[in-house]
Symmetry: D2
């Protein structure tokens, strides 16, 4: 397809939308979807996402980017202009719990999640067969905290070899080193099995049970070096009651975890997410 996506972040001031839409108009682009948000029309921060079709794409993609440069300079923009045809090269990391992986694979197979899945990486072999039945490469990299450095070296090599754009932690229960995280700013999405900021850290279902909550949740977020403190992408909840054991909470949590992760990953793949001050703008 000839679809492009323009993402913009800049200080708000009059004239931005007018300049951007004139530029697109001049370049024979039809706007399909347009979203904008300003923290404050006076001296706030302005954000915009435009999805458009242009007969100039994909051939003149580079040229469009060059032309847009002067507008971007005028308004002091951070921006990107990409073709929707450049599907993100994606790696999925997983441990022993496979429900999130399964959801991603099925959504991908049915065409509802447009990713170029290059690999599934796990510290266990439980999902090998599943992954290969989808015709995808599986890499088994056993790990423990004593060999974290060597493990990450192997992982980083793989990520580099395949030129990965997005890493999805689909219940990957290992802590990543600060260096690993720093090397992939806002390119790692994790699913946490609680309604953050409630129950940060380990065993959220056990703690939810002990506290006697009436709802449990899940949170997909970008990974930063503050544990479970990165920008939240999506959250949802499921109702529980006094009869539910810790094990029931785990089971019930699974269906909300997989949906919350899949939704967050889709939004990233469609370039709908802009990070600002540890929050996400979801367009």
């Amino acid at each position: 397809k000839q679809t492009g996506r323009l993402l913009i972040k800049c200080p708000d001031q009059p004239g931005i939308v007018s300049s951007v839409t004139q530029f697109l108009h001049k370049n024979e682009a039809n706007i399909i979807e347009s979203n904008q948000y300003t923290t404050d029309p006076q001296d706030g921060k302005f954000f915009m996402r435009i999805e458009f079709e242009s007969s100039k794409l994909p051939e003149a993609e580079e040229e469009l980017r060059n032309d847009f440069g002067s507008i971007a300079d005028t308004f002091d923009m951070e921006w990107s202009l990409k073709g929707a045809y450049d599907v993100k090269k994606t790696a999925i990391f997983v441990s022993k719990e496979l429900h999130c992986l399964r959801e991603l694979l099925l959504e991908w197979q049915s065409g509802d999640l447009i990713a170029d899945i290059k690999m599934v990486v796990s510290n266990h072999e439980d999902c090998k067969e599943l992954v290969e039945s989808f015709g995808l490469p599986f890499f088994h990299i056993p790990s423990n905290k004593d060999i974290r450095k060597q493990v990450e070296e192997k992982q980083l090599k793989l990520l580099k070899d395949y030129d990965i754009d997005l890493i999805v932690l689909a219940r990957y229960m290992q802590i990543l080193t600060p260096d690993f995280v720093a090397a992939h700013p806002f390119k790692i999405i994790n699913i946490h099995h609680s309604f953050l900021p409630a129950f940060i850290g380990a065993n959220p279902h056990k703690r939810a049970y002990d506290r006697g909550v009436k709802l449990i949740g899940a949170t997909s977020h970008y990974v930063t070096n503050d544990l479970d403190e990165g920008p939240i992408i999506e959250q949802d909840i499921v109702r529980v009651d006094h009869r539910d054991s810790v094990n029931d909470l785990k089971k019930m949590g699974r269906s909300v975890e997989r949906i919350v992760l899949a939704r967050g990953v889709k939004w990233d793949l469609e370039d709908r997410l802009i990070v600002h001050e540890n929050k996400t703008i979801v367009f």
Copy 2:
């Protein structure tokens, strides 16, 4: 405040957004919120709502409208440009069930529903005291199907005297005549106590009970002369189960009815609704 709202509906073609935003820019307007939708970038219908602040408002409102006329002509637009300070003059019609009326009055009193409520009209006197305790005029117009014409004449006179912009049927159980409806195109909002198009017509809760549904709903919609067939504004549901009697469904339905109606009314009051082919665009 100096806030204006521009609503547009026209055939889609390149250049619309660019022209509109240039116009606003020229008129020192800061865009606060902007939404657009196109049924199809090729030969579809284009819809837009822009909320903006301009130091020229409210003084130069008429002038802005005049200036915009030439753009509107170029693109063959149906459009409106209004100040948010022109709060809609609203009439509420009600019968004996008061939960929807109560919700509207409380939301209005707490400043969450910005309407200029000019009157509450009822064919019963049950709510007289309630309405007057809010300092609002109450009109009792008894009615039955034999005197429908005379009743509506009284109502129409009131609506005209107070120059009413919006009529809310807050569980007003009388049928309006085709003439009455035709005189207020997309200016009458009704709440139907079912998830339309399920259970069109009378006694939806009884019929929901008989069918054994597991969810019941409510629908706010603009009134047209096809019973319960007007453009749907908002819907929501509440979970029920086998233990719930018809009476329980009525009780449980109340909380979803009042919320669905209040939401729909707010959106109309904020000029967020555009009707197109018997559907609503909700911006």
Copy 3:
């Protein structure tokens, strides 16, 4: 495990619960879960489900049933007493849309759906590989309305050979003959891709789109010979808006369909459903 499930349906009268619980007590049964419902304490219909553990199970299952007979006679009960260890032999019928099948297989594989899946039957071959990758038998029975009789003969033979307890229509787009349905009373569960009774019949998403609804739904129900009119087991909805095309509704509908079907199937497998006057009691 030594878990049993007792289901009861009888005219309400004093003393039922007392007799039943005495019986269980006498038989060293610990009640794990107990649910009851009466349409009316005076002359209504009484329903009960008890899940219990007893050291006498599974050995004395037949004996327990014999003993219970006299209580059942006293109160004129329709009843069943089964071991939870008798997992239902299940057949899944599917056509070309595979999301519901996938959900059931994954839930089954992860141990969240306790069925003894004996076969997947389809009029197409699209899911052959998927089914066989789960180690399950796949039967391809091409069909069209001219050969319906022959098709059903083959299906009936399979169902009989494997002694099937439950048939799940996981988006099986063929109409079953009255004879086929009559042979499996309340043993066939279908998923309909609308919020019944809205949009009975074909193309519910197209019709939902045309009507401009703000929510779409799905309904799992037992199949009777009135199209889409059988007892509703479970329903749920998902929010849509004006931007969603018919195709978007189909996509969004998939996630609610698969969940609503899986939930309904689980409840049947756990003997939580009692049908009464074309409705379900869900315990």
Copy 4:
């Protein structure tokens, strides 16, 4: 009506249900609703709530209680047997935010909340007119942290004079002293404007905004002397997004707060709540 409610908490062991239902049967009681829960059939804790009709009520209420004593002793029960006709004498405490108070008053007026509201107490006079328009006594007791003791003395005298059963803190922004709380074990219900345990303490909406959550919530709970740590009764959430300011969160929070509080209060009024290890069983 002749409805009674029996609540039971005791060590689980075989024979409890059997004994209780025999007792009711002997006393000509029809069971309307029955719920039970055991933490573990082996040596767990057992909970039960039975709602029944008996022609012996209300006259023989005391006699029924005496008779039940021996069963209660046998099984070492904590228990209560009350008539539904003994409507709880209720006090509502409120400060300046009135949405929760309004909800309770409207639900009470429409007969959906069966309480005997004896008073509304506030440290401000904002709601005086509203309360009195419902024909209810209003008490203005100004307060600040320096005169907390005197304030509570006045409050305690009122509560005693009116023999209050239930105190509802409907956004009452004052801290209660340990003595006050200790004097009303599980008789004070508070609404906290967050999804506990997230955002314990002050300004939860500001902190939710800063964290960038995608859902905000509300929690009704019994008050204990650990701030916001008492047994949770009910929780619910509402979806928010990046466009919502702190003020928007407050507005949106209101509708979920009032519903979560009203639901919790209703359950208490209907004796549906049993506290166990800082959690609630909701029957």
